[in-house]
Symmetry: C2
Subunit: 196 residues, 2 copies
Amino acid sequence: MAGRKVLIVYAHQEPNSFNGSLKTVAVEELSKQGCSVTVSDLYAMQFEPRATRNDIVGCLHNSDNFSYAVEATEAYKRGCLSNDLIEEQKKVQEADLLIFQFPLYWFSMPAIMKGWMDRVLVQGFAHDFPMCYDTGLLKHGIMHFCGVKVLEPHICFAPEHVSEEKRKEMLIAWAQRLKTLWKEEPINCSAEWYFK
Amino acid sequence: MAGRKVLIVYAHQEPNSFNGSLKTVAVEELSKQGCSVTVSDLYAMQFEPRATRNDIVGCLHNSDNFSYAVEATEAYKRGCLSNDLIEEQKKVQEADLLIFQFPLYWFSMPAIMKGWMDRVLVQGFAHDFPMCYDTGLLKHGIMHFCGVKVLEPHICFAPEHVSEEKRKEMLIAWAQRLKTLWKEEPINCSAEWYFK
């Protein structure tokens, strides 16, 4: 919808890939709707997936026993996270819609996407925007836990094993879904009390 | 058992962590048994978790459309993978026992461990060594698929929320299990035909 902000977190090495095409289709369709679309292209940005001490600027809370969860939380409160994290978190905070676009591997997502999740969302943002994503691993855990309304995943199965025509149909179906995405109801996740 | 080779793939930023202690206990106990123990300390090695074009030395199979799976497989056949991959694959090939030691996060494993799996095991090694690991995500997919005999996971729940005494008990229980690990029967995974 016009005026809405969309963040697409995209993880693929190859712009010509089917994932790249799905991302482009989303940028085009959502821009056409008047949305302001931002893409975090993790490979192109050379996003650092490792969660390390480098994520904390300045002194540690407890340098004798480094706990990433503790240190990142304390640094978040003090505004002492590294710039790449602050920038991604800002994009997440501003977004009305989050789309994760990435290939599904055996472990459900590429390491760089997992690194983005680990580093950007580790403090547990609590928001209220809908999210469209491609796999099931995230929905009951981090996303729903953070207060995100989760939409039905949109999965294109084995694009490398279907015809060119079928791939085009998949792209059209994705564009089509995006036209009415804002009217979709969130899917059911675990009850709120589950996290209390 | 004496003479056996063990590879511990270890992912934690802090040597003083409980994960670090579990790793140390394993090194000590297995060395005492006469095993030759190698540790891949992923954070200390600054292991690169991103699966990129840098993993392939020299020309690509298809530079117009980079597919990591295709390129890594072709490079593996030609012996043209990057040195850090070749070294880790060599360790895996030589090992009689693989132990993955890492904290369980919401997505089941830290990004750097997932990166190790993605990059080192992407070609689908087929071996016949037992493996001891800490989570369930891997067993029916990549490990069993690769011909690895999978042992029961060894999970220590919420070590940061129990007493020091309880943590010591956990370390002792792990050392105790390692004493008879070689006699353990592999757990049941998906049937062989599942992957055919």
